[in-house]
């Protein structure tokens, strides 16, 4: 039977829970942790995507394509995120409609709207 999954999307860590038997139950991730770092990454050479702890572990090797603290950018204009732009290693660009987009490096210069 379908269940509703609640996600607490935090700036640094996220947590997922369902209601089972009338009680909330926090779900563990594949590594057994109850919280998951709010980090995603793409390896442009292999095309693999990493989420959570694994994305965090490879951040030093792949800073352009490791996205974190993205919650700070959600729904904001480029002019509002000047401070965040200095703090993160990935590129934040302004689009024609003044929104802040994340630009992933690589041959295909892709932009993602947070």
């Amino acid at each position: 039977m379908a269940k509703v999954l609640g996600i607490d999307l935090g700036t640094t860590n996220s947590c997922m829970a369902i209601v089972e038997g009338g009680e909330p139950l926090v779900l563990e991730n594949s590594e057994g942790g109850r919280i998951t770092p709010s980090v995603v990454a793409t390896n442009l050479k292999t095309g693999e995507r990493y989420v959570g702890q694994m994305a965090k572990r490879q951040g030093v090797t792949n800073p352009d394509n490791t996205i974190y603290s993205i919650k700070r950018l959600i729904g904001r204009r480029y002019s509002e995120v000047a401070e965040e732009t200095k703090r993160v290693a990935y590129k934040i660009e302004e689009t024609a409609n003044k929104d802040a987009h994340v630009a992933m490096a690589g041959k295909r210069h892709q932009r993602y709207l947070p």
Binding site: G21, Y50, M54, R57, V60, P63, R87
Partner: protein
């Protein structure tokens, strides 16, 4: 309650079904229809609730079985994770030992204590993650820095800062490693340092 005798029963005229329905007013009929609809709705709700409870229970039972199995495998994980820094300290203490001290009985005793601790942990299912010379794998490694070299391909582990361990095949603590990077692709390092 008094039971009427046979002669009285013969005199009572029992109304047939059609006649009985005719006696019901339209209002009563409508009330019964509404009650029936209400009961049917309740029945559907209870059926749905029962199905949900059954599914919840099946999921609960399956999860408890999985957790129990996992608990047996990883019963010592938390304790071993806290002991690992002691093992690290032993290794750090012995790695830079002066040559003249390495043969002393006191040092040999310390080595024996280290081996004894390591054997004890290995008997519980702990194994070291071999990293040097292998490709970087975020499942097992945590990159803390990289080293520019043209002797190796990109993303090969060149040095281990802190050993990683797995317990019964599951990564308990990833290795902290330094990986190779070709000198021409060194732009990213400066960006990391800036942040």
């Amino acid at each position: 309650m008094a039971i009427p005798n046979q002669s009285e029963n013969e005199n009572i005229s029992v109304p047939d079904e059609v006649a009985f329905s005719e006696t019901l007013s339209d209002q009563n009929h409508q009330t019964l229809e509404e009650e029936l609809a209400k009961v049917r709705l309740e029945m559907d709700q209870f059926r749905s609730l029962l199905q949900r409870a059954h599914a919840d229970f099946s999921n609960y039972r399956r999860r408890i079985e999985d957790e129990h199995e996992d608990l047996i495998k990883r019963a010592n994980a938390s304790l071993i994770l806290q002991i690992l820094p002691v093992l690290d300290d032993f290794q750090r203490a012995l790695v830079d030992l002066p040559e003249d001290a390495s043969m002393s009985r006191w040092v040999q005793g310390v080595r024996l204590i280290q081996r004894s601790l390591q054997s004890l942990l290995e008997s519980s299912g702990l194994s070291k993650i071999e990293s040097i010379g292998r490709g970087f794998d975020p499942w097992e490694h945590e990159a803390v820095s990289f080293e520019e070299t043209d002797m190796l391909d990109d993303e090969i582990v060149t040095n281990v800062i802190r050993e990683g361990y797995s317990l019964n095949g599951k990564v308990l603590r990833p290795s902290q490693v330094i990986i190779s990077k070709s000198p021409t692709n060194g732009d990213n390092l400066s960006e990391v340092k800036e942040t």
